[in-house]
């Protein structure tokens, strides 16, 4: 598949590994009104890898790796906006200094970049480690016939397209996806810019079977019908958005596994093929070259 790079500019972005935060009361409230203490919400999470089920842990918004932020809020939004799937991350300080990882995705609302590292590197990393992301991808577009039919690309390094189970013919992009779900399943993230904010899917272990999401894994691709994410995420009949799952489930109402949009367009130009043997982003391929 060809990606047009109309002079896409790369920027080196500074950040730090997030230190998880909680309020003075440790409790959040789940959809049934029960209090819980959230774990794994930001910072470094160990033992969760791409390909794991989004329902495998009892944490909250658990991401497979490290969350990256910046202490200045404007710089944090920029770090989030310009970081794209496939961008290289370099650790600058701490025990893992010199090691590299790769951007998987991002989260709203204050903005976080989710980056994957090998188990060995992640075990040596700690909150406040300085990192640099080579931000590259926003502004890239698909080859002419597909672009002209209105299909856009976001949050994706052109070099990382090869990691995705997508194909193109003359004027159509087709993606293998775990499931295709209606836009009403999308909660937190609607009405927000997808360059800075992922879309939480309002699904848990109990509701997953009705949506074809029982086997949903970190790194899977999912399609959403009637969703247009070109200028904020919102309802538009006949459009489709396809994204990658970047974090796990949440007990909070309106939250759940996070989908970072990658492609959006009229449904006849952007096709989703629901595939029982779907394989999303492969960790070994994503991290190839970082060792």
């Amino acid at each position: 598949m060809t990606v047009i790079r109309p002079a896409v500019v790369a920027t080196n972005l500074s950040g730090v590994v997030e230190t998880p935060e909680l309020d003075s009361s440790p409790f959040r409230i789940d959809a049934d009104g029960h209090p819980y203490v959230p774990t794994g919400d930001g910072g470094i999470v160990l033992g969760v890898r791409l390909g794991d089920s989004v329902f495998a842990t009892d944490g909250d918004h658990v991401a497979p790796g490290a969350c990256l932020v910046h202490p200045d809020q404007a710089a944090r939004h920029a770090l989030t906006s310009y970081s794209c799937l496939g961008n290289t991350v370099t650790v600058r300080s701490g025990d893992a200094a010199g090691s590299r990882g790769v951007v998987l995705g991002k989260r709203g609302e204050l903005g976080r970049v989710i980056a994957c590292f090998s188990r060995e590197v992640l075990a040596r990393m700690a909150p406040s480690d300085e990192i640099v992301v080579r931000g590259h991808g926003q502004g890239a577009r698909l080859e002419a016939p597909i672009h002209e039919r209105g299909v856009i690309m976001r949050n994706l390094d052109p070099a990382a397209v090869a990691l995705l189970p997508v194909t193109t013919d003359d004027d159509t992009l087709t993606a293998s996806v775990r499931a295709e779900i209606p836009s009403r399943v999308v909660g937190n993230g609607v009405g927000r810019p997808v360059e800075q904010w992922d879309l939480d899917l309002q699904v848990d272990r109990d509701t997953a079977p009705t949506l074809g999401l029982s086997d949903l894994a970190l790194g899977d691709l999912v399609a959403v019908t009637d969703l247009d994410v070109r200028h904020n995420a919102g309802y538009r009949r006949g459009w489709r958005t396809i994204g990658v799952v970047v974090h796990g489930a949440s007990p909070q109402p309106g939250h759940g596994p996070g989908l970072m949009p990658l492609f959006c367009g009229p449904a006849d130009a952007l096709v989703a093929r629901v595939d029982r043997s779907h394989r999303g982003i492969n960790e070994d391929r994503l991290l190839k070259g970082t060792a």
Binding site: V190, Y235, R237
Partner: protein
């Protein structure tokens, strides 16, 4: 236990009222000025924050050259803690009093929540209010329970408003609620995943004047309309949940920003089979406000 005119049995006699202070908060902007709509068209339009004139309960919610239209006064406290108290504890139907400026002494009523507490005044009084004027809200209503409807959570509503809205217990035990519209879950935009004691649920599909593929048939909503939201559980936040239902009062109007729109503040939420919705084109707080007694709750 208190039995209302409607026959609803509540704990309203055990609730306390508190005056909470805020101020009319000015509209905000940034040096880039523009936002973009669903089609990528840029706009700079008023509506959010400050004093927004000419739109009151009963008036159309959409069709204005406006973004995030907040009718009347937009009220907050400048410090975080007192502001959360003001936002979380103010209820639809609560009385407000203007405490400074040329309109000092004027009385109004809370219409709902958004990024601010929103309050309606007469057009003559509104004309005299400016950002920075001090407002007191007599907060009363959070903690309300419906004794005969244990599965239904009620919030954000002055107990005295309930009967006037026609909410009642039916012979079959269900909660009867007159509504002007039933909103599909596909309309729920920004606000999903947030707490339901603050702000509201932006409804998409009401972009009057824009493309047909954006419409969910909600362009006729009015400020103050009581509406039902299908497949929404707002008891402890705001989430999509098949088999559940939420009732809200439209407190904000026209949006151009995509994924946003006229929004209901949530007042009732529970299993869908706990409710019996009644189509009532006049289900609007406008007439209900007039029926609220003026005196301070004892």
């Amino acid at each position: 236990m208190t039995t209302m005119r409607s026959g609803l049995v509540t704990n309203s006699g055990r609730l306390v009222a508190q005056p909470l202070r805020g101020e009319v908060w000015p509209p905000g902007g940034d040096r880039h000025a523009y936002r973009v709509d669903a089609d990528g068209e840029s706009f700079v339009l008023p509506g959010m924050g400050g004093v927004t004139l000419g739109v009151h309960p009963g008036d159309r919610a959409t069709g204005y050259a406006s973004d995030h239209l907040e009718p009347g006064l937009s009220i907050r406290h400048r410090e975080a803690g007192p502001n959360w108290a003001l936002q979380f504890l103010s209820c639809i139907g609560n009385r407000i009093t203007v405490r400074s400026g040329p309109a000092a002494g004027a009385r109004g009523v809370v219409v709902g929540q958004h990024a601010f507490v929103l309050a309606d005044l007469t057009e003559a009084d509104l004309a005299e209010v400016a950002p920075g004027d001090v407002i007191d809200v007599l907060a009363h209503g959070q903690g309300l329970r419906l004794d005969d409807h244990p599965d239904v959570v009620i919030k954000n509503v002055d107990p005295r408003l309930l009967s006037s809205l026609g909410v009642h217990t039916r012979d079959d035990g269900r909660l009867g609620v007159p509504v002007t519209a039933t909103v599909p879950a596909a309309a729920v935009g920004a606000g999903a995943g947030m707490v339901s004691e603050f702000a509201n649920t932006d409804l998409m599909g009401a972009y009057e004047g824009q493309a047909a593929d954006l419409s969910l048939g909600l362009e006729g909503l009015r400020i103050g309309d009581v509406v039902a939201l299908e497949e929404q559980d707002h008891r402890f936040g705001r989430g999509w949940r098949p088999g559940w239902l939420t009732v809200g009062v439209i407190s904000t109007g026209h949006c151009r920003l995509f994924g946003h729109g006229p929004g209901p503040s949530s007042i009732l939420s529970g299993p869908a089979d706990a409710f019996a919705l009644v189509d009532e084109p006049e289900a609007n707080v406008r007439s209900a406000f007039a029926a609220i007694p003026q005196e301070v709750p004892a």
